[in-house]
């Protein structure tokens, strides 16, 4: 089957195809899901090498669960975010002593050197600020404001109520604003 032919197939259908032995479906899922889970893990962990490991482990769990996947019960992407969140939690518990200086540089892709550098600096400052948040707040803010998930989906990922998600994101944003307020000038943001 041509690779492009799978572009319009849903994640859930691709997973069923893979469970039936379709290796092209696995390639399509790999290309589609890996950047998302890697980006999320990178932001939560602040460590690219560890994020790589988490992404691979999360995808491995997806391959293993494929034969038992029940269509209509959950979205593959939601399930993946949940697995990544749990894996990140495990890793963060093991390394409480990480320093902010170890946060990797974000990867650039925007045109215009000055604008690009400013975007990079802001993204880096946000990553550093996110690292100061309690783990659940950080995860909720990333899922809501960077990954773009809706609150009910975040509630499913984090296994909490929608109200708890709202509370976490509100408190997280307040904390981020406080941390980032002192860096406005350095980041090219006007005061008024």
């Amino acid at each position: 089957m041509p690779f492009d032919a799978l572009d319009d197939v849903s994640n859930e259908a691709l997973l069923v195809l893979y469970a039936n032995g379709d290796r092209a479906a696995a390639r399509a899922l790999t290309m589609r899901l890996t950047p998302r889970v890697l980006g999320y893990a990178s932001r939560v962990l602040g460590d690219r090498a560890e994020a790589d490991d988490v992404a691979q482990e999360a995808m491995l769990r997806l391959w293993k669960i494929a034969p038992d996947w029940r269509q209509g019960e959950a979205k593959v992407s939601t399930w993946m975010y949940r697995v990544v969140a749990n894996l990140c939690t495990d890793r963060l518990r093991k390394k409480r002593s990480s320093t902010l200086d170890e946060v990797d540089e974000p990867i650039d892709e925007t045109p215009g050197v000055e604008a690009q550098m400013q975007q990079q600096e802001r993204a880096r400052a946000l990553t550093l600020a996110l690292a100061t948040l309690p783990e659940r707040q950080r995860e909720a803010v990333i899922l809501r404001h960077i990954e773009g998930l809706a609150n009910p989906e975040i509630a499913e990922v984090l296994d909490i109520s929608v109200e708890a998600v709202e509370s976490l994101t509100a408190r997280g944003k307040r904390a981020l604003a406080t941390v980032l307020a002192g860096q406005r000038e350095a980041l090219g943001i006007d005061h008024d």
Binding site: G21, T34, A51, A55, L126, K173, A177, L180, A181
Partner: protein, 122 residues
Amino acid sequence: MTDHDDFDLELFFDAAQTQTADASTDLLLRIAGDADAILDARDTPVGSTPIAKVGFLAGLVAMIGGWSAVAGVSTAAVAGLWFGIMAPTGVSALTNGYLTDTSETAYVSDYLPGFDLTDAGE
């Protein structure tokens, strides 16, 4: 939180959204390799695992009941050898009686000193 703070944060979130985490080719290959390995393992029939070849000695040992049986056979062989070398006196006398062709005849009383021929005749 003021509206101004909200606006500031949106700038940061927008910046973060433009920074994509490009997966390395190595990572993508590892993940695809895992997917293939899972399928390969699943597609391998359970009975297709090659059976280890049994050597002649191992087959022989198994045939007589395993290594414990081999130990028993060995013990019996050593015991037999021992009896052969260190034959009891009584046995020597008996075998000499049968195997030697001399004038000295062995009598029952030689082996059974308490046996009385007169009693036997009664």
